[in-house]
């Protein structure tokens, strides 16, 4: 009983409970039909939100004002780079993935350069960068819908006993991210900077390097996500990343990470991503129109954050 109460006190548990409730409501509606397939589909789609969500989480944890608005443009450009480099050739898959990663890292590093050299607030820096990246993507992609190599498309859609392999790999990745956050000097530095940047600096934390690494990490994850999305949806396009701006921020906050910084939660990102994907599935199953679906999604996000309450006064 005591352990249960301890579990319920953890903020991330609620996002999983929410996801479970939404799943139950949908299964009850369909009369038990398609419950397993729904979980498989939810896992495969949640992966893409989780990957960018983790990057966004590290950025947001750096403290007030830190947020990466360049993720959608980053995803779009990286998806085009990956598909062009792979060029439909199975032998080039690894090279294409590395190219997408490098593209994302370059964007992340450029973001930090703007923040550091021009002392621009991160929101505006990543916003301006996203305008430029978007143009590069439009001009580079030129409306070409380049197909992924068959091997890569199969890999991103690969399932074992109804569990997407990509989801398993992402779980391993998130465990790594959680260890990095809680047990490694890098993660502890991010948390310290988010709690009090001046105190962290006085305590000898290398603030500049940690922030640089965090923006580069977020960029790299955006790049990877772009390549995987292009594989999963069988083609790159400029708009492929659009929904991940809102989604990446929403999963971080619903998952129990503090927007004021200094307090992050990795498992919550998974719970919140599953919750959002299942919520969309449920509304689709209920057959509501696109307008109603958007309204309900928005109201539920506002409702969840209201129920969870704010910890804004952390400073």
């Amino acid at each position: 009983m005591a352990s249960l109460r301890l579990l319920l006190a953890k903020p991330w548990v609620w996002s999983f409970i929410g996801a479970g409730l939404v799943w139950l409501a949908t299964v009850a509606f369909t009369g038990g039909y398609g419950g397993g397939g729904m979980i498989t589909a939810a896992l495969s789609l949640a992966v893409f939100t989780v990957i960018v969500g983790v990057g966004q989480m590290f950025v947001i944890t750096l403290g007030p004002g830190n947020v990466d608005l360049s993720l959608p443009a980053n995803i779009g450009l990286a998806s085009a780079v990956a598909m062009k480099v792979m060029d439909g050739n199975d032998a080039m898959i690894v090279v294409g993935l590395l190219a997408a990663l490098a593209c994302g890292m370059a964007i992340g590093a450029a973001n930090y350069l703007l923040i550091r050299a021009l002392r621009i607030p991160p929101i505006i820096a990543t916003l301006s960068a996203s305008f430029i990246i978007q143009s590069i993507d439009i001009s580079y992609g030129r409306g070409l819908q380049i197909k992924p190599p068959p091997g890569f498309a199969d890999f991103t859609n690969w399932q074992v006993f109804g569990i997407p392999v990509l989801a398993i790999l992402t779980v391993v990745f998130t465990i790594g991210a959680a260890i990095a956050l809680q047990r490694m000097i890098y993660g502890r530095s991010v948390l310290a900077i988010g709690q009090n940047i001046r105190a962290a600096w006085l305590a000898g934390v290398n603030v500049g390097r940690t922030r640089f690494l965090t923006y580069t990490l977020s960029g790299a994850l955006g790049g990877l996500d772009g390549a995987l999305l292009a594989g999963y949806f069988r083609g790159a396009n400029v708009d492929i990343g659009n929904e991940y701006l809102l989604a990446s921020i929403a999963v971080v906050v619903i998952g129990g990470t503090s927007v004021a910084g200094g307090k992050a939660n990795v498992p919550g990102v998974w719970g919140a991503a599953l919750f959002l994907v299942l919520l969309l599935t449920m509304l689709n199953t209920f057959g509501v129109s696109a307008g109603v679906r958007l309204v309900l999604t928005g109201l539920i996000i506002v409702g969840v954050i209201t129920a969870a309450g704010g910890q804004k006064a952390l400073r």
């Binding site: 916003l127 301006s128 305008f131 143009s135 439009i138 539920i300 506002v302």
Partner: protein
């Protein structure tokens, strides 16, 4: 000193570039055409400025402008009374959001992010397909051609003057800005922070409504996605205009100048420079970066 002149300087610079590239554009007709969309952008920027003055951020203003546009092109024309009630109600929703954010101590980024879905959904429900038509009085207002000075310039001056007086010259305006500057001190002095937040958000809603109506007055018909770009434009406008994200440091005149700079730079300048449409979005980003870099250089020298 130089820093406060920067918004005006950047506008002059963009104007000089346009005059150099195409002298004929500097005329009554040229300005009416180039500044066509400046009025709704300026109004949306002012809306965002009120929210930023209270240390919050509104990520839903773009879809809100789109929602207002859809209501304007349908209800406000066909059933004006209901249309007016819907628009007043939506300002009320903004006020309620301000109250909610204050009472539950919520991060405004997330709340307005959620609301951006709500407004977009409502816009689609009101107007499932692009279409509708602006009310005639609105069309004739936006097509107004005053002598000598083009309407967008007069409108911009008017907006800047009214908001400047209200926020910078009245005593309650000082309180409103103070809620972003030092909330704790304000509360100890006996002012209600709940009330300042409600007023700031209601003002944002009001100017969002004006922006959506002005936009439809120009485009004549609506589309649920018509305002989506305004969220980022409005934030960029406030920052270009010398506003800061925290501390209640905003400038209405600067915000309007920032909006005009963005409206001019967005397409007329680039068309004259023969920059292909692909790169026009990038130019917006580049202008933001250049202005902010100039600001840093100036601040460093003044220190």
């Amino acid at each position: 000193m130089l820093r406060s002149l920067l918004p005006a300087l950047s506008l002059v610079l963009v104007l000089l570039a346009i005059a150099w590239l195409n002298p004929r554009a500097i005329s009554y007709f040229g300005f009416s055409l180039m500044l066509n969309l400046a009025i709704p952008i300026a109004l949306a920027t002012i809306a965002q400025m009120f929210v930023i003055a209270g240390n919050e951020l509104d990520l839903s203003i773009g879809t809100f402008v789109g929602f207002v546009g859809c209501v304007t092109a349908t209800w406000l024309k066909d059933a004006p009374l209901i249309g007016v009630l819907i628009l007043l109600g939506s300002i009320g929703v903004y006020a309620l959001l301000g109250a909610l954010i204050h009472l539950r101590n919520l991060p405004s980024i997330v709340v307005t992010l959620g609301m951006s879905f709500v407004w977009q959904g409502l816009a689609i429900l009101v107007l499932p397909k692009p279409g509708g038509k602006a009310p005639d009085w609105l069309l004739s207002l936006m097509a107004f051609k005053p002598p000598l000075v083009p309407f967008p310039i007069i409108a911009a001056l008017l907006i800047a003057a009214v908001v400047h007086f209200g926020l910078m010259r009245t005593s309650y305006g000082v309180i409103l800005r103070g809620s972003g500057g030092n909330a704790a001190a304000l509360e100890r002095a006996g002012w209600s922070l709940l009330r300042t937040k409600i007023v700031l958000f209601a003002l944002a809603g009001l100017f969002g409504v004006l922006s959506g109506m002005a936009l439809i007055g120009i485009t004549t018909s609506a589309d649920a996605n018509i305002g989506n770009g305004y969220t980022l434009l409005s934030i960029a406008g406030v920052i270009l205009g010398g506003g800061e994200f925290v501390g209640g440091r905003v400038s209405p005149i600067g915000a309007v100048l920032g909006a005009l700079t963005l409206a001019l730079a967005a397409s007329p300048l680039l068309t004259f420079m023969h920059i292909p449409p692909d790169w026009q979005v990038a130019a917006n980003g580049a202008i933001l970066i250049i202005v902010l870099a100039a600001r840093v250089l100036i601040s460093r020298r003044e220190r």
